[in-house]
Symmetry: C2
Subunit: 149 residues, 2 copies
């Protein structure tokens, strides 16, 4: 039997969140958190709207997922995020003890990989899911931004 709930399926959901960010003139990054094939949190970057550099999609998703579960830890959960998490978000993921992180586009300058942020030892990482689609949305955002200024 084919499982429709694979990493690509949930990354598409994260991309839909990123598109919501795009429509708000936010850097288009989206995230969902999944447990047992169920989305328990959805979020997109709101740093401009909230005037708050900590309002990355992942941070909001961690808070929302913990609130939904009524527990601080996300050991049985997977974070899907369209852009590789930064130090702050990867550092937050350490505290959540999240089971798995799946990201789309690679963040070559400020991503946790290049900056060697320590993840929780039990966190599995998968990168590059729908990478082209996730990257294309970011590229389109920055091109439109540049053309407007």
């Amino acid at each position: 039997m084919i499982n429709p709930f694979d990493d690509t399926y949930f990354m598409k959901k994260a991309l839909q969140e990123a598109e919501l960010a795009f429509d708000k003139n936010e850097v288009p990054v989206g995230a969902v958190i999944v447990m047992n094939n169920q989305i328990i949190a959805r979020a997109h970057n709101l740093t401009e709207t909230l005037n708050d550099v900590t309002a990355h999609a992942e941070m909001q998703a961690f808070t929302a997922a913990a609130d939904f579960l009524g527990g601080k830890y996300l050991k049985e959960c997977t974070l899907y995020v369209t852009l590789e998490p930064c130090q702050m978000c990867a550092g937050a993921s350490y505290w959540t003890q999240i089971g798995k992180i799946v990201y789309g586009a690679t963040e070559v300058k400020r991503g946790f990989t290049v900056l060697k942020t320590t993840l929780h030892p039990k966190t599995i990482v998968v990168g590059g899911i729908l990478e082209n689609e996730c990257s294309a949305l970011l590229t389109r955002f920055f091109i439109e931004k540049r053309n407007l200024n």
Copy 2:
């Protein structure tokens, strides 16, 4: 003329915040953010109360300070925090471009120094202000916690 508003003065204010955390059975870490010798944000760890591992004192203080200023960046500000920031909080400080971070006790396992988190290049760091007082409060918390369990 003696300046009463030195690092020790503001660290005492951060310690008062840590004591508020202690009274709520939270790991006692407190923070204040200062601009032009004025405290513009106060916060203490609320991870248990809010059921949210991202609710470190520093994260809340960054959000509150940006809200107070009406701008995302804290270039002219100093963060005073009783315990050395973790990766998440140091990573957040990068995005705020904060001018200076002053911390009390060293966090030898999860602190940003040992984990080599990248700070903003313009952020000045001073550690060890009221280190003994900041450490003593944390030690007292963990001893009481252990004796209760």
